[in-house]
Amino acid sequence: MILCIVCYTLLVASSNSDMELSKAERKVKDMFYDLEAISEPITESNKLEIDKKKIAFSEKYFMLTDQYAPNEFKLLGTDEQGYPTDIAVRTYINMFYDMFHNKKMASYSFEVSDMFGKTLDVPEFKKGEATTQFAQIRVRKVYSKNNHPFVALEDTLIVNIEHMKICQWTNKSSIVHIGNSDGDNLLDIEQLKANAALAYNRKQYAKAYQIYQSIIERFPKEGDPYYRMAVMLYKRQSGDTLRKKERNRLILEYLDKAIVYGGSETSGCADNMRYWITC
């Protein structure tokens, strides 16, 4: 009887997880369908539809409006502005649109060739709490010129299951928000962050702090953990053995690093916190 209940619970949990994954895959598919539609030649009948898709793109699929997208246009040789780093999604969609509809750059085409995903499992979830937080979807896409494929890329997208929106988007052209990490590192970072968040929510502060420390040891240019550690130190949830002077020095040091290495949101939060505690 007990065995049946356990099997049933596992089955339900597994099917829930599969459903979430398929929803996340659907979301990413829709996004790339929209990109394919935007890349189509403009006619009188589809012009309005393309404009609508272009305008709604950022809000429809992404957690944040100022989120980063990979600047693959550098690889394609169509980045006329010469953006040095990753670009905002809004900028991405404008550059993507220009690439296909600017007469100077005509003859480009775009298609998605393959897609596969998996959930980022968090092994430390307690029984009954097993909600998947993220799904990782990999997408292979090909840019062609005069119908000859010339750049193939594999994008890695992380979907926040709860909001069913994309929270990370990278490929080999990405350089900022996950450092020089490839898809596997991104998976590691998200996994570790999820573990740290879980530990924090369970009030296991020492463990959460330790996980954040392990993240920055492996990925010293990842900004978010610095900010989290600074907050934990300020709230005295960690670093009990530290003397006040050392604690304060660490808080400021971590906030400075979060300002430098964090994404726009983390960097802004760290900068604001630095102001409030020193003003």
Binding site: G268, C269, N272, M273, Y275, W276, I277, C279
Partner: protein, 256 residues
């Protein structure tokens, strides 16, 4: 001439810290310990802002002094009896020290990175008010009231540390104790009543230009005049704008 003086004072206040530096450290914001200075005269409060801003920056490296421009509103229950404050733009000694209030605040507040924080402080203020009373503008009598205000105020702060701004709401109660009163009837302090004053403030703490600025109101819930001296009742409300020049504010101005 007056406008030039005011312009010069405000300009100095704005640029006073152009060449200065502050040292940066994490401060103890849990302790509330501030000195309040309020005046009904813009020249006085501009000069006070300069001096206290310099002190905050160079000597204390903390936002210890707060300044306010206060305006007293008086009303009576007797028809045609007018009560008005002295000319706020005047530069006589009386006018420069019109509606002055100086005091200390001492208390504790939570200061965590979360959205909601709160605190409680006690305060003691000395207040001197000067106004004119009469039935026609050409024949007004000079009055001066001096009192101490003791009380407690609760404050509620909304906005987490990740945000650039936060709103602070204050509500409190103070007991007004008479110290002295001067009028044509003499200098007997019993002309003035004791009573309760409620205090309300909304402050906007931000990193931008309007940082640490707010509005407040002190509402007297009693008749200022003692019945045995006058038949009329005198009510008073003080409204004001309050601000603090912080060391970081000075630094950011220098950086700009």
């Amino acid at each position: 001439m007056k406008k030039i003086i005011l312009f010069a004072l405000v300009s100095i206040s704005v640029f006073q810290n152009s060449y200065s530096q502050s040292y940066e450290r994490i401060k103890n914001h849990n302790l509330i310990f501030n000195c309040d200075i309020a005046s009904g005269n813009p020249y006085t409060i501009a000069a006070s802002s300069i001096l206290t801003g310099l002190t905050n920056y160079y000597i204390l490296n903390d936002a210890f002094f707060e300044n306010s421009f206060a305006y007293g509103i008086y009303s009576t229950d007797t028809d045609n009896l007018k009560v008005k404050t002295l000319n706020p733009m005047g530069i006589t000694a009386r006018e420069l020290f019109n509606n002055m209030q100086v005091g200390l605040k001492l208390g504790y507040q939570t200061y965590s990175p979360e959205f909601f924080n709160f605190g409680l402080y006690s305060s003691a203020h000395y207040k001197v008010e000067q106004f004119e009373v009469g039935y026609n503008d050409d024949n007004m009598d000079y009055h001066r009231a001096q009192r101490m205000l003791f009380g407690a105020t609760a404050l509620f702060s909304f906005g987490n540390m990740g945000q650039a701004s936060r709103v602070i709401v204050e509500a409190g109660c103070r007991y007004s104790m008479r110290l002295g009163y001067t009028s044509p009837l003499g200098e007997e302090k019993k002309q003035l009543n004791n009573g309760l004053v409620s205090h309300y403030a909304v402050k906007f703490a931000s990193r931008g230009l309007w940082q640490n600025i707010g509005i407040y109101a002190d509402i007297n819930h009693f008749d200022l005049w003692n019945d045995s001296y006058r038949d009329s009742k005198l009510k008073n409300v003080t409204i004001g704008i309050t601000w603090t020049i912080t060391p970081q504010q000075a630094d950011s101005r220098r950086d700009e």
